[in-house]
């Protein structure tokens, strides 16, 4: 082990910022992070073992105890549920002879849930040793079981298991006309960098991650910061359940995304850029590295880019299973090799970002759009959309519709048009912007896709009339409790309280005051939390409670108080010890 770790740390140039890279490699090699490895890494990087422990226990893909040689994770997103995740998981448990959350006795295979893997248009999905498995069904599970029991190395598995399709269905302004590699940089240097920033300003482009901060303003602020180093970061940690557009952009439009980053670097004066790729997209890593290499070859990265006096390069960093790292300051912490805990602001990343340097963090789609704008000019983009939301938005549409996939729409398109296009009928409602967004009912389909009405980072999940809204809300609420970083009290404790309180109601243990208590708790979590995760964690409950109060009320028992636990169930151990099961050994939940 000693030589393996020594070599690994050396390859990472003894940089503590590379801690996640190092731990990913150790996890892949040993299927956990051995204690001795922690001690050795701590010594070699000159950081404390507690920092390493913290990181291991923070990210879902790192483990202190061994997982299977084949580590199988099943995506637990609501979209996977709609596609039969529960039956599939039960079948996997049966075939592989291992329970969810456990490692098989022979150590060969382990099985667990994981948060949305971004294959919502081709689920139920999973991961094996980090690599995406799509469209899982019983036949594939049989095949996987054989491959595992025969101990076939992953390289020998049929490629069909790993087939991920783009499902690009509707293209508009951006996706129908990708720019040739280098075109944005040529245009920018020909026009002048200041003038190009001005075009970006005219375009009205706002951040595509969901928050909608004006891109030109962010770049301008960052460029004005006096510092010998500036940093460009592309946020490809799309973890919002139901979002998968960045997966497609990075698979088929990566040149243009990298070009957008390079353009940003030229404008703000950066020499260093990072693509923070969510761990679930490991399968894209090699391809993206190859594209970076191509760009270096073509003089579009590295020294003297497009023969201008401009040097810039991009490094890819992989996440390790933490939704919170989509928050820009948590992402920066993660890039620095730490736990993904959102920072206190101010200061903002544009002044104090990666290692304290002025940093622009933008979404994949934002960089893609910026590159197109550099070529086509600001008005080309601004002529489309609404007053406050210019251009187009790329949506990841999934759930109950005939054609799930990627759709690009001008801002201002109404929801009904989108539903018609994707073949959704008998619709109950749509979750727009993912769990942190809004649930709209079928009475609201004339509402518009726009920052001023329905803002979204891209997630668009359709539910038909057969679906139970409380199942949806329950899945989302559990998701937030699982993904809360735990830094601040209202979110750390509040999201778990929300989960328990909602479970109580959904499981039929709720009584008169319980919905009121739920709503009160929602307001505290929303108002008092440190970052966007906590501030939006109650949205699934709040947006459905507002629209379907009767659904919640119908779950309640007609008594004034109902204990939150199963009284008779709590006596089970006592009954077993006393070897009794007579009427006297049972208690009614409440006196009838």
């Amino acid at each position: 082990m000693t030589a393996f770790i020594q070599d690994l740390v050396e390859k990472n140039h003894y940089q503590p910022t590379h801690l996640l890279h190092i731990l990913r490699a150790v996890q892949a090699h040993y299927h956990y992070i051995p204690k001795d490895a922690i001690e050795q890494i701590a010594r070699l990087l000159a950081i404390s073992r507690t920092q390493i422990m913290g990181v291991i226990e923070f990210y879902s893909f790192f483990h202190l105890s061994p997982r299977g040689h084949y580590e199988i994770l099943i995506s637990d997103s609501i979209t996977d549920h709609l596609l039969g995740k529960h039956e599939l998981a039960a079948y996997l448990e049966e075939k592989l002879n291992v329970k969810l959350g456990e490692v098989r006795a022979d150590g060969l295979v382990s099985l667990d849930n994981t948060s949305c893997t971004g294959l919502c248009d081709q689920g139920p999905a999973g991961l094996v040793n980090g690599y995406a498995l799509s469209r899982l069904d019983k036949a594939k599970v049989d095949q996987i079981t054989d491959l595992i029991n025969q101990q076939t190395p992953l390289e020998g598995w049929p490629q069909a298991l790993f087939q991920v399709d783009d499902n690009l269905i509707r293209s508009d302004l951006l996706l129908s006309a990708p720019i040739p590699a280098g075109a944005a940089l040529q245009s920018a240097f020909n026009r002048g960098l200041k003038e190009t920033l001005n075009e970006l300003d005219i375009s009205g482009l706002r951040g595509r991650g969901g928050a909608g901060f004006k891109t030109a303003t962010k770049w301008k602020f960052c460029s004005e910061e006096l510092n010998d180093e500036h940093i460009v970061v592309c946020n490809a940690d799309e973890g919002e359940p139901g979002t998968f557009k960045d997966r497609v952009l990075l698979n088929s439009y990566a040149h243009q995304v990298f070009e957008g980053m390079t353009l940003c670097a030229a404008i703000i004066g950066a020499q260093k850029g990072f693509l923070y790729l969510r761990g679930e997209y490991l399968y894209l890593h090699e391809k993206l590295e190859a594209i970076l290499a191509e760009r270096r070859q073509a003089g579009l990265l590295g020294q003297n880019i497009v023969n201008a006096d401009f040097n810039f390069d991009i490094e890819i960093c992989l996440g390790a299973g933490a939704y919170i790292c989509g928050e820009e300051s948590a992402l920066i912490e993660s890039l620095e090799g730490k736990m993904g805990i959102p920072r206190n602001r101010p200061p903002y990343p544009v002044t104090h970002g990666y290692l304290g340097k002025p940093t622009v963090v933008n979404n994949v789609e934002t960089f893609l759009a910026a590159a197109s704008i550099a070529v086509n000019g600001g008005n080309w983009f601004a002529n489309i959309g609404t007053d406050k939301s210019k251009g187009t938005k790329i949506l990841s549409i999934c759930g109950d519709c005939a054609q799930p996939g990627i759709y690009e729409y001008p801002f201002g398109t109404d929801i009904q048009t989108i539903l018609d296009d994707c073949g959704a009928s008998d619709v109950l409602g749509v979750q727009i912007g993912g769990p942190s967004g809004t649930f709209i009912s079928n009475k609201e389909f004339s509402r518009l896709l726009a920052f001023e009405d329905l803002a979204t980072g891209g997630s668009f999940i359709v539910f038909n009339q057969q679906r139970n809204i409380l199942d949806v809300v329950n899945n989302f609420t559990h998701f937030f409790a699982h993904e809360s970083c735990g830094f601040c009290t209202p979110c750390r404790v509040g999201t778990s309280l929300l989960k328990n309180q909602l479970d109580k109601i959904v499981d039929g243990h709720g009584s008169a005051g319980d919905v009121v208590a739920l709503e009160e708790l929602c307001q505290i979590v929303k108002k008092q939390s440190h970052c966007g995760l906590g501030q939006t964690a109650a949205n699934p409950i709040l947006t459905t409670l507002e629209r379907y109060p009767e659904l919640y009320q119908a779950q309640l028992k007609k008594i004034s108080y109902e204990p939150g636990f199963d009284l008779d169930g709590a006596l089970e151990t006592a009954r077993r010890l006393a070897k009794r099961d007579d009427a006297g050994a049972h208690l009614a939940q409440v006196e009838e």
């Binding site: 913290g54 933490a322 736990m339 750390r492 778990s496 505290i524």
Partner: protein, 239 residues
């Protein structure tokens, strides 16, 4: 002319670079807090010091004071939510004041009294947490840890060591010790370290000093935490 902010209608001067908490404390205005301590880098995690700044919720311990801010602090709804946050801290761990050595000297308990917290309100989690009694002079009862990180910061910033850290995610957060065994006895902690004395609750206790001051004669048995806090933090500031 010095710049000012307004807290609950009271005009308060501040110096450039001060946080709202620092300006308030100097002016004798108490803002409830647990993870904040004037001698250490602000952390902003407990959220008890959340105030309303020009209509927006901000943590007073980390948010800079800026000219003209209109701040609401001692308002009924804000204190009501602070009480709920305190209740969250209580139900998350295992806090049984009557059997805790820290009772009467405990800031968590004192803040709860200050906010008129009379019950837990939320269902208790009853987490299973360990006791680390391995160290000759210092005891850690993880049941009472509220993840304020004051011991983490004190060890790093005052003691020049790095004994403590917070690990884990979400509701599974926990305090860990920098030792290969994970035990306090194998760490660099000494009973004289600041980190051993800074805990606002009874999570870190010095052994063989228990009950030397009888219950009833302890800090918060006679004085509310707002007075204690303002006095001690301003003395520290003057020094």
């Amino acid at each position: 002319m010095s710049k000012t902010i307004t807290i609950d209608g009271q005009v308060i001067p501040f110096e450039e670079g001060q946080t709202i908490m620092e300006a308030a404390t100097e002016a004798g205005v108490y803002i409830p807090h647990l993870c904040h301590h004037p001698e250490y880098t602000p952390h902003g995690s407990c959220k008890l010091c959340n105030v309303n700044v020009n209509g927006r919720t901000c943590s007073a311990c980390t948010f800079p004071a800026m000219e003209g801010q209109q701040i609401l602090n001692d308002a009924k709804d804000i204190n009501e939510e602070r009480k709920k946050i305190t209740q969250m801290l209580f139900v998350e761990g295992n806090h049984f004041c009557p059997s805790c050595e820290k009772t009467g000297n405990c800031q968590l308990q004192a803040v709860a009294y200050h906010l008129n917290m009379l019950d837990d309100h939320f269902p208790l989690f009853y987490p299973h947490r360990e006791l680390d009694a391995s160290h000759a002079e210092v005891l850690i009862d993880h049941n009472r840890c509220i993840f304020c990180t004051l011991c983490v910061r004190a060890s790093q910033q005052k003691d020049g060591k790095d004994v403590f850290a917070i690990s884990g995610r979400g509701i599974n957060k926990h305090l860990i010790i920098n030792a290969e065994s994970g035990l306090l006895k194998d760490s660099e902690l000494e009973a004289t370290d600041q980190a051993a004395h800074v805990c606002p609750t009874g999570a870190i206790l010095i052994k063989r000093t228990g009950y030397q001051v009888p219950i009833g004669e302890r800090i918060y048995d006679h004085t509310q935490i707002d007075q204690v806090s303002l006095n001690s933090e301003n003395i520290q500031h003057d020094n």
